[in-house]
Each structure stands twice: as structure tokens, then as C-alpha cells.
């Protein structure tokens, strides 16, 4: 035998075991080659496989294993050394790769396993999300329903529509069989079926309000499932069907007074209505939570809508009431205005009408007094005179007061002797005072000016009234009158904090105090004293007469004189002091004392004495016409010039107050114009004053003028002063018979 490099297998080749090994190796190699192929095929099919590298490695490992087993097939028989070398190489490679793969798999297999867990996790999550989605969807649907319902309910402000709409919409949304509303009756002890969905006119079922099931519903703000057998749910005639589930919810009925911003009226309202909702019978439907929520929300909305409707009703009612009141007020105001106008008219008429007869009575009675009378007659006449004097005073007082109130009274300012006023008052008061055995004293301060500027008559009236009151209300004792100039320190009186008299160079404040020891006045009556017609009701005063106007008038006079008047008294029986302060002017010049004796100074001084007075001048002579015009223009008149008679007649109108006519042209034509003018203006007060300007004032001319109805005659040439005085005379008296 040759020695070859062949390697002998350990076992003889004919052994049975060898045969089986041979076959197994073959199949193993086959399998090992086919597995990567399968893997590649399937991986290529799938889109995602993250571990390609692993696959390659694995593939290599398997291929090499297969190769190893395949090569092993040759080692069963005698084989050369090359085969053995290849076999060894293959085995070495296989070992390397398989170890690497083993190492790799240690990393990879946990990952692969966790993929599975992740998948499970994701599946759970998906299921959860699905559930949540379902919930949200239902919620959204509910919300939509609620919005829609609310919109429907709130789109109307009418109570019935609101309730009806609620029921209809709820019925539609929730597919209800029946929906009913039970309202509390007026007595509050029963619930009455007011609205139902299916029945058109619900018969007035009533249910007592204090059933336990109803209490249960009312005590909770949620919708409560109730039994279909309870009285409120037994609306439908009971049939053989299985009734559906019933739910009841309370609807708070809000009163206006309950509607406070910060306080949701959960606890304060006691009145509820009951809304009963029934699912269709035999439907096996159940009330879901979101449906119950929907019902609760709707119930609340209904409550709000109802309250809005109530508020609207209320405000409409209030508005109507206000309008009525407005109309009534307007009417009242108009009536008041008419009344005031009527009163003013009345006073204006009465002013003259009342005074005239009074004057007649007084004048004639006093004349009668002068004649020879028997004692009885004299007594009668004296009584008549006294009564009519009283009446006249009363009329004057009333008229004065109304004029004072209108504000139309103005003071007649003038310079007068102050001392004389006081003396006069004293003289007037002395007789009455001596009859009542009252002692009157007058005390004038040394710095009191003798003359002052003011309204003498009204000052005297005021002093007389105050002193007269003092005398009237005193049965005994004394009356003292003090007058002095009020100094700055004394000016501010505690009684009159709002009165701040400010003396100046031209004015001084006269302060007069009249103190009496009479019946006095209680402090609460003092404010009433100055109100007209209000008298303190004591027996003493009731007998003393007077209409209670005196002090009111005095107060107004004093106010006009920018002063103040008040009365102080310590109480009944303690006498009282009347004090007033008035503002008087200080006369400027020292020769003022002569003033009272001077004739009234004409007030029309200065160029524009008769502003705007419309005058017509007729003169044929151009020059004298111009001169006359100049005169009148200088006096401020509005002069129209005419140079002929026709023009004069054409132009003259009721606007012209005076017509100056030149009549010295020989002939009667000037007079004719006068006659024509007289004819033209029928009413005397519309006619302008006609004055003749003439060069001669002989008797004939005068007679002629008078005959034709002229008002005056002036001799030419006219001086400025003469014209001025003529015009003022004419305008005052409307007649002037001669100015030379």
C-alpha cells in the first residue's frame, strides 16, 4: 500500500451509522442553504426590516454551516488532503461567523421581543383613545343640542312661546315620547299640568306639591329618574306597553327681586316648576348621563329665559306708566300755567277795578264826614271809613304782594329825610299806643345821616308795619325803636349767616330794632311769620285782625332794598324784637337838604332824549324844514320829512307819534290836513299828536288849531330846549296847549 496524504475517516465507510450520518448531513446542508433563501425572499417581501446587517450575518452563518455539512459529505470516504483543508477552512469560518452571530443575537433578541410589547401597548392606547373620542363626540353633540335649544328658547320673550318651544325642542332632540311641564298654582300648594308636548290642550290635572317624589326632585338641582307610576308621570293613558324611563327636573321660577348679580339664587327661590320627560315605551332606551346633563342645562336656561320675559314685561309696564304720568304732568303744568295767566289777568284787571270803587267810597265818606251829621250818623260814617280803609289796605297789600312776587315791583329811589320818616311813624303810632297805655321811645344814633337815598314810601311802610305789629301784640309795657348805622362787626349776625352786607362809600346799612314787651312768639312759630297768610293761631292774634300779609310784604321790600329782616323772641310772654337792615344810599352834596323842595328834575337830559321817536314834519319852506329836522334829529327822533299836504296824508301812519305841521302859510290848507288825519285815525290813541308850528299865535290861529283838533301849537322859531320840553310834555300829557 502507498502512503497518501489522504485522511482516513475514523470509521469504516460501510458502517450503517456512517450511512445515516451521510444522509443527515446532506439534508442539513440542504436546509441550511434553503433557509437564507427563504429569509431573503420574505424580507424582500416586507417593506420594513431594520436588521439587514444581522440578516446578512445570519445568512453567512447559515451558508457556512451548510457548506461545512456539505463538505463533510466528502469526508466519509477517502478524501484527499485538499478536501480536508477546505473542510477545516470552512469550519474555521463557520466558527468565527457563528460566534459573531451569537454575540450579535444577544443584543438583538431583546429588541425583537420588545417590539411585541410595544405593539400591545399601542393597541391598548388606541382602544383608550377610541373611547375618549366617543365621549367627546357625545359631549359635543350635547353641547350642540343645548345651544340649539337655548337659541330657540331665548329667541322669544314671550312666556308661553318659551315653554312650548322648550318642550318641542327637547322632545325632538331626545326623541321623547312625552314631555310635560307642571307649574305651581297661585296658592302654591299644587302643581298644575300646564304644557305638554303631545296633547294640545292639557286638561287641568293637579297634583299636590308635597309628594315625596316631587320633594326629591325639587331638592336636587339634577335631573332625577322617577318611577313611571308616580302621579306626575302618569299622563299618558296606561297601555300594555312597557313604559319608558322617566326623568324629572326642577325649573326654578325666578322673581325679579331674586335676580341679584353676585348671588345666584339657588337658595332664595322657593317656587319651582316640574318638567317631566318620558322616553318612548318599549324602546329599551336608557337615560344616558349626557342626556341628563342636557336636560339640566335646558331647565336652567328656561328659568333664565322666563325671568327675562318677566323683566321685559315689567319694564314695558313701567314705561307705559311713565308715559301716562308724563302726559298727566304735562296737563297739570299746562293747567298751572293757565291758572297763573288767569291769576295775572285777574290781578291786572282787579288792580284798577278794585281800587276805583274803593277810592270813591273812601273819598266820599271822608267828604261826608266834613258835613253836618248827627252823632249816630257820624258814628256810622266813621265805621264805614274805617272798614273801607282796612279793605283798601288789604287790597293794596294783596296787589302789592302779587306784584312783588312777579318781580315787577321796582323801588322809587329818591333822596329823603330819614329822621322825618321816623318822626312820621312815631306820630302815626302815638295815638294807638297811648290808648293802649304803651310807652313808645325812639332812639336815633348820632352817626345816622339825616338824609338818605332810597324808597321813602316803602321804607316807611316797612317801619310802620313792624312798629304796628309791636303795638298790636303788646297789651302793656313799652316799645322801643332804635335806629343806627350797622358797623362791619355787627353786620354779620348769628341769625343770618348767609347775609354778608358790604358797606361802601356810597351806601350804608340802616339797622332798625323794634323791641316790645308783648306776648312774644314761640321759637317754632318764628319761621312761619314771614310766610303770607300764615298766622299763629292764638286768641290774641285772632282778634287783632290783619290778613297776615304785612310781614311777608315787609320781607320782600327789605329784600328789594338788599337787606334782611328777622324776629327774635325768647318765647311766649317774653316779648320780641324785630330787627331789619336795609341798604340806603348816601347823598353826595351838602346842599342836598334843598332837594326835597326842588321841583322834580326832568329826567330827559342829554341829546338823545327821545330815542327812536317817530316824527313827521310837514313844512313847505325848505330852510325851516331843515332846521326843524335838525332840531328833532338832535333830540334823537326818527324824522320823516314831507313838503306837501298830499305827501303828508300819504305818508302819515300810526307809527308816527307826533306830526309837526307848519300852518303859517296863508290859507286853510294846513288845517285841512289835520282834519284829514283826524278822519284817518278813528281811535284816539292811534292818532299821532298833531302840533302846529306857526309864526304867529294870535287868537284866530289858536282857535283854528283847536277847531281842527290839533293838540298843540308852537311858535316859531323853536329853540332846542323848547322843543325838548314840548316833546316831553306832549308825550306825557298828550295835550299841550301852547308853548311859546
Amino acid at each position: 500500500m502507498d502512503s497518501c496524504n489522504c485522511i482516513e475517516p475514523q470509521w469504516p465507510p460501510d458502517d450503517l451509522l456512517m450511512k445515516y450520518q451521510y444522509i443527515s448531513d446532506f439534508f442539513i446542508a440542504l436546509a441550511y442553504f434553503s433557509i437564507p433563501l427563504e429569509l431573503i425572499y420574505f424580507v424582500k417581501k416586507s417593506a420594513v426590516f431594520p436588521y439587514r446587517w444581522v440578516l446578512v450575518q445570519f445568512g453567512a452563518f447559515i451558508v457556512l454551516c451548510g457548506a461545512t455539512h456539505l463538505i463533510n459529505l466528502w469526508t466519509f470516504t477517502m478524501h484527499t488532503r485538499t478536501v480536508a483543508m477546505v473542510m477545516t477552512t470552512a469550519k474555521v469560518f463557520t466558527a468565527v461567523v457563528s460566534c459573531a452571530t451569537a454575540l450579535m443575537l444577544v443584543h438583538i433578541i431583546p429588541d425583537l421581543l420588545s417590539v411585541k410589547t410595544r405593539e400591545l401597548f399601542l393597541k391598548n392606547k388606541a382602544a383608550e383613545l377610541d373611547r375618549e373620542m366617543g365621549l367627546i363626540r357625545t359631549q359635543e353633540e350635547t353641547g350642540r343640542h343645548v345651544r340649539m335649544l337655548t337659541h330657540e328658547i331665548r329667541s322669544t320673550l314671550d312666556r308661553h312661546t318659551i315653554l312650548k318651544t322648550t318642550l318641542v325642542e327637547l322632545g325632538r332632540t331626545l326623541a321623547l315620547e312625552e314631555c310635560a311641564l307642571w307649574m305651581p298654582t297661585r296658592t302654591g300648594l299644587e302643581l298644575q299640568l300646564s304644557y305638554t308636548l303631545r296633547q294640545q290642550n292639557p286638561v287641568g290635572y293637579t297634583v299636590p306639591i308635597h309628594l315625596p317624589v316631587i320633594n326629591q326632585v325639587f331638592s336636587s338641582s339634577h335631573a332625577v329618574k322617577i318611577s313611571p307610576k308616580c302621579p306626575v308621570a302618569r299622563i299618558r293613558p296606561a297601555g300594555k306597553y312597557m313604559p319608558g324611563e322617566v326623568v324629572a327636573v326642577r325649573v326654578p321660577l325666578l322673581h325679579l327681586s331674586n335676580f341679584q348679580i353676585n348671588d345666584w339664587p339657588e337658595l332664595s327661590t322657593k317656587r319651582y316648576a316640574l318638567m317631566v320627560l318620558m322616553l318612548p315605551s318599549d324602546s329599551a332606551r336608557q337615560w344616558h348621563a349626557h342626556e341628563l346633563e342636557l336636560v339640566e342645562v335646558v331647565a336652567d336656561q328656561v328659568a333664565v329665559a322666563l325671568s327675562h320675559a318677566a323683566i321685559l314685561e315689567e319694564s314695558m309696564r313701567a314705561r307705559d306708566l311713565l308715559m301716562e304720568q308724563n302726559v298727566a304732568l304735562d296737563l297739570a303744568r299746562r293747567e298751572a300755567e293757565t291758572a297763573i295767566r288767569a291769576r295775572n289777568d285777574f290781578l291786572a284787571v282787579m288792580n284798577h277795578e278794585m281800587r276805583t270803587p274803593m277810592h270813591a267810597i273812601i273819598a266820599l265818606s271822608s267828604l261826608l264826614q266834613e258835613t253836618e251829621l248827627t252823632p249816630e250818623q257820624r258814628l256810622m260814617v266813621e265805621t264805614i271809613l274805617k272798614s273801607s280803609n282796612l279793605l283798601s289796605t288789604l287790597i293794596n297789600d294783596v296787589l302789592d304782594l302779587s306784584r312783588l312776587e312777579d318781580g315787577s315791583l321796582q323801588l322809587d329811589l329818591g333822596t329823603f329825610n330819614l329822621f322825618a320818616v321816623f318822626r312820621e311813624v312815631l306820630n302815626l303810632i302815638k295815638p294807638i299806643a297811648s290808648v293802649k297805655k304803651l310807652h313808645v321811645s325812639l332812639n336815633l344814633a348820632p352817626d345816622l345821616p339825616e338824609y338818605a337815598i332810597g324808597d321813602e314810601k316803602r321804607l316807611m311802610q316797612t317801619i310802620l308795619n313792624v312798629v304796628g305789629n309791636a303795638v298790636k301784640f303788646s297789651k302793656e309795657g313799652s316799645i322801643s325803636i332804635t335806629a343806627f348805622v350797622a358797623k362791619s362787626e355787627l353786620l354779620r349776625d348769628s341769625q343770618t349767616p348767609e347775609f354778608f352786607p358790604v358797606p361802601s362809600d356810597n351806601h350804608f346799612y340802616l339797622r332798625v330794632q323794634v323791641k316790645d314787651s308783648g306776648v312774644g312768639i314761640s321759637p317754632q312759630d318764628i319761621p312761619k311769620l314771614f310766610t303770607k297768610f300764615a298766622q299763629t293761631q292764638s286768641t290774641a292774634t285772632r282778634n287783632s285782625g290783619g290778613s297776615g300779609l304785612g310781614l311777608a310784604i315787609c320781607k320782600r321790600f327789605v329784600n328789594l332794598m338788599e337787606g334782611h329782616i328777622w324776629i327774635e323772641s325768647e318765647g311766649l310772654g317774653k316779648g320780641c324784637t324785630a330787627i331789619f337792615m336795609v341798604k340806603l344810599g348816601i347823598p353826595e352834596r351838602l346842599n342836598e337838604p334843598k332837594l326835597p323842595f326842588m321841583p322834580k328834575v326832568p329826567t330827559n337830559h342829554g341829546p338823545t332824549a327821545f330815542p327812536g321817536l317817530k316824527v313827521l314834519v310837514m313844512d313847505e319852506n325848505g330852510v325851516s324844514r331843515m332846521v326843524t329836522k335838525g332840531l328833532l334829529v338832535h333830540l334823537g327822533c326818527d324824522v320823516t320829512m314831507v313838503s306837501s299836504r298830499e305827501e303828508c296824508l300819504r305818508v302819515v301812519s300810526h307809527e308816527h307819534k307826533v306830526v309837526f305841521m307848519d300852518v303859517c302859510v296863508p290859507g286853510m290848507d294846513g288845517y285841512e290836513v289835520a282834519i284829514r288825519i283826524n278822519e284817518k285815525f278813528t281811535k284816539r290813541h292811534e292818532r299821532p299828536i298833531i302840533v302846529a308850528l306857526t309864526g304867529n299865535t294870535d287868537k284866530v290861529t289858536k282857535e283854528n288849531c283847536m277847531r281842527v283838533g290839533m293838540d298843540g301849537i308852537i311858535l316859531k322859531p323853536v329853540s332846542l330846549d323848547k322843543m325838548r320840553s314840548v316833546l316831553s310834555d306832549l308825550l306825557e300829557h298828550r295835550v299841550l296847549f301852547e308853548a311859546i
Binding site: N621, V623, G630, P717
Partner: protein, 154 residues
Amino acid sequence: MELVQIQRRLVDYTKSLFMEGFLDAQFLQLQQLQDDSNPDFVFEVVSLFFEDSEKLLNELTIALDQPNVDFKKIDSHVHQLKGSSSSIGAQRVKNACIAFRNYCDVQNIEGCLTCLQQVKQECYLVKNKFETLFRLEQQIMASGGSVPTIELGF
């Protein structure tokens, strides 16, 4: 001349006019009517007078030249003239007119003619006087002064 001197001249002149009887108190009245709203009143009136008087005098001359003298018309003219002159205070003219009227009443033509002459004369004289017066016033106004008011005590 100085302003004061002119003013003095005016015053003296005016006084002389009054003394001589050319003007009377009526003229003062006229002057009183002159104020800021009517600054040329006197001048206007006087000018008007002279226009009027010229017309009237012409009429009178024509009327007296007629063979049949219309005394009524003459009377009315003279009346007008008298009125005008008395309105402005031309005393002498007025007096002449009065005399004229008297003659007119008695229908004395000779007398009328004489009077007419006299009236014409007086008018002419007083016209000159007025012209001087106004010239002096203008001079004063031009120098920036004011016309002094006359105070006459009589």
C-alpha cells in the same frame, strides 16, 4: 396865523355879527344842533337858505315887474323868505321881510319895490358875513383846532 389867534378872530367876528344885528339867538340854536353826527349842519342850512333866497328874490323881482301885480303870490314868497331867514337867525333879513309884508298887505307897489331892494341888500350882506365866518372856521379846522363855541350873555 396861529391857531389861537384865528380862534380869537372868529369869536370876535361872531360877536360883532350879533352886535350889529345880523344874527340873532336862532343862529346859536343852529350851532347847538351841529354835532359829530352832523358836522356841517350849519353850513348846509345856510347854503340852502341862500339858494332858496336867491330863487325867491328872482321870483319877487319878476312878480313886481308884471303889469298886474299878484300880491298874494308876493305875499306868499315874502312869507317864505321871512320863515327861512328867521329859521337861520338872519335877523336883519327877517325884519326887512316883515316890512315888505306890511307894504304888501296895503298893496303899495312902491313900498314893495323899496323893500325888495332892502331885502336883497340885507341878503347880500349877510351872505358875505357868513362866507367870512365859514372861511375862518375852515382855517381853524385845517390847523387842527376846534371851533370855539360862543357864549353870549344877553
